[in-house]
């Protein structure tokens, strides 16, 4: 073997040996981008290429893989500098098309957040809509109130501005580009309107978000390329990663990015305001990252497919922080349009747009091929450890069990109405939960139901007059939730049940108002 090394034929073998560990430098790739010879594919094409060529082959053949996503990114906003007025003003409150922008920074700097609703149109028009209007070249109305000082004497002003009139319009988004996102469904008996869209009752549908195979962070989950200073595609402009995003949680594949970009260069093709019904405004934003195939590790991570990325289907019918997960599904399952949940075929559809995500990846590919988009060396990698802990709540809020009354009178459905009436009168309460023989909640009757039955002259058994779709509360539920149930259904009392649905108490609007009065 040693002799072989010096033999002329083995010269090629040495080259071969070197090429087994395929590596390229970022400057080599940028050189190719500059001279227009870089080979660029989208993250949708990469898995088949790696399967065909192997990871070493893919490193030889591919220089850059482009990713993209286009979804609702609530944690977005823009810093605006208005320039100084004459006389100067220190803005303490600013309204942009009646949407409040935060003025608690220097005199004429503002931060406009995407989800801020407007004072006149509520959630139908918000911060995201102001941002889209500015990017679309529209003029916005600015009303500012000042906190007058010797150096800033102006009290208030009004002006009309377009995007070009601001000195700077710099988008800074605390959390964008979630690596993947929980899918959503709803076990409850009413339609829920959430930031995951309309969720129909009884597991009526599933909504999901995220680009799966095109997800920027799932194509580089170990941050072998993406880091602080990475140049990205943001809303049609070139922007940068400035750090990991809020709730960054790479340990569990829920990484996020904090990003910035010049809004003056953005386009409404990749930036669109939205309103989620009964939730609020949000901003759909196109974000893409070109990933250089520097080594086999990156070739393998960019070969990720929809089927490799799984998320839990989470039940938004449970209005708690820790919503139960029904099952795990892959993006391939979600994109198929139906998911089996508890033996039932449930329709699934997306809230983010895969069509525009593809357009982001394609646009980015064209820009890299044309030499208009160079890759950048991160100044520091993203943190591999993040934090997405629950809130520390120091002021304990009471649970239903702390407030409810435990002396509850229940009846069975076969008793006559007049007997129920006597119970209500002697107990001085308005609601009687109806239970089965083993104490499980079946319905409820109220003093009103009884009056109605008596007035119509049909004295009967309570089974005929009780409400069977009865709402209830649980012992360990925060009172805020019980209050919301009472409010949503315009009712005044809820039976409290244990885990076996047995009635153990009642909570009424009187309990809640007494509690509130005492707190004040």
């Amino acid at each position: 073997m040693l002799l072989d090394l010096v033999a002329p034929t083995s010269f090629y073998r040495i080259i071969d040996l070197r090429s087994i560990v395929q590596e390229k430098s970022l400057s080599e790739i940028n050189e190719r981008i500059r001279d227009g010879s870089a080979r660029v594919v989208s993250a949708e094409e990469m898995p088949d290429l790696v399967e065909e060529l192997g990871s070493a082959g893919a490193v030889r053949e591919v220089d850059v893989v482009t990713t993209g996503t286009f979804g609702a990114m609530c944690s977005s906003g823009v810093f605006l500098n208005l320039g100084h007025s004459d006389p100067p003003i220190k803005i303490v409150r600013a309204m942009l098309n009646k949407v409040e922008a935060y003025g608690g920074i220097a005199a004429v700097d503002l931060f406009l957040g995407a989800t801020q609703p407007s004072e006149d149109r509520g959630i139908e028009y918000g911060g995201a809509h102001v941002i889209e209007d500015l990017v679309s070249g529209k003029q916005i109305e600015v009303e500012a109130q000042g906190g007058p000082t010797d150096c800033y004497p102006q009290m208030e002003l009004e002006t009309s501005l377009r995007l070009e009139d601001f000195n700077q319009a710099t988008m800074v988004n605390p959390r964008n580009a979630y690596q993947r996102y929980n899918a959503a469904t709803n076990s409850s008996d009413r339609t829920m309107h959430t930031y995951m869209g309309t969720l129909l009752p009884g597991f009526g549908n599933i909504h999901y978000s995220g680009a799966g195979v095109l997800s920027p962070l799932f194509n580089d989950p170990n941050f072998d390329y993406i880091g602080i200073g990475t140049r990205i595609f943001l809303g049609g402009a070139q922007g940068f990663v400035i750090g990991s995003g809020t709730q960054h949680n790479p340990q569990n594949n829920f990484s996020t990015l904090m990003v910035t970009g010049d809004m003056k260069k953005m386009s409404n093709r990749f930036l669109r305001a939205a309103t989620f019904h009964k939730y609020g405004p949000s901003l759909y934003l196109g974000l893409g990252i070109p990933i250089p195939i520097l080594n086999e590790k990156l070739a393998r991570s960019t070969a990720v497919r929809d089927r490799d990325i799984s998320v839990p289907v989470v039940d938004y019918g449970i209005q708690r922080r820790d919503r139960p997960s029904i099952r795990m599904v892959s993006y391939e399952d979600l994109k198929s349009g139906t998911i089996e949940l508890n033996g039932k075929e449930v329709a699934s559809s997306s809230l983010s747009s895969f069509q525009v995500a593809r357009e982001v990846a394609r646009t980015l590919k064209e820009e890299v091929e044309k030499g208009e988009f160079l890759l950048s060396q991160a100044v520091e990698p993203l943190s591999r450890v993040g934090s997405s802990r629950p809130m520390k709540q120091t002021k304990e809020s009471p649970n239903v069990g702390d407030v409810m009354s435990r002396d509850v009178v229940t009846v069975q459905e076969d008793i006559p109405v007049d007997k129920a009436a006597k119970l209500i009168v002697s107990g001085s309460f308005d609601h009687l939960p109806v239970v089965s023989k083993d104490g499980r909640l079946m319905g409820i009757i109220t003093a009103w139901d009884i009056s109605k039955a008596v007035a119509s002259g049909k004295p009967s058994r309570i089974a005929e007059i009780m409400t069977r779709r009865v709402h209830s509360a649980r012992l360990d539920e925060p009172i805020e939730l019980a209050a919301r149930t009472l409010d949503t259904h315009s009712i005044s009392a809820l039976p409290v049940v244990d885990r076996e649905d047995k009635v153990i108490g009642m909570i009424t609007s009187d309990h809640l108002s007494r509690l509130f009065a005492r707190r004040r």
């Binding site: 869209g197 309309t198 759909y284 329709a347 559809s349 997306s350 069509q355």
Partner: protein
């Protein structure tokens, strides 16, 4: 073919649909009905060959009938093909075709679920 019936005050308590079915022998399907004490709106699916006959039978009974040819319209400049309308539609009016949302308008029964479900406010019902 879908027909929207506007039932005027005064005749809402009359068994309109039953009588039209008996007269025309059409296999109609009631897809949506909202009826209150005085008036109502009903959407019927009617076999194409019976459509004219059924329409005329209702009109003779004082019902205003509007064929729902394009029940829901979409602003193409606003639609971002996200899919928020796809899984919430009870009649599967919307579906993906290579990740573009396409609509089979003929399936729409004007329930309005997609109107509020669309984050871009790109959908509108054609009210007749």
């Amino acid at each position: 073919m879908k027909l929207m019936l506007h039932v005027a005050p005064g005749i809402v308590r009359y068994p309109l649909i039953a009588s039209v079915i008996l007269e025309t022998s059409a296999l109609v399907n009631i897809e949506r009905a909202s009826i209150d004490a005085v008036s109502g709106e009903i959407v019927l699916e009617v076999p194409p060959e019976k459509c004219v006959e059924v329409k005329e039978a209702f009109e003779r009974r004082g019902v205003r009938v509007v064929p729902l040819e394009i029940p829901v319209i979409r602003d193409e400049n606003e639609c971002i093909h996200c899919g928020a309308c796809v899984s919430i539609c009870p009649t599967k009016t919307f579906r993906f075709e290579d990740w573009r949302v396409v609509a089979d308008s003929g399936k729409c029964i004007q329930c309005g679920a997609c109107i509020v479900g669309c984050p871009q406010r790109a959908l509108k019902l054609v009210l007749k």
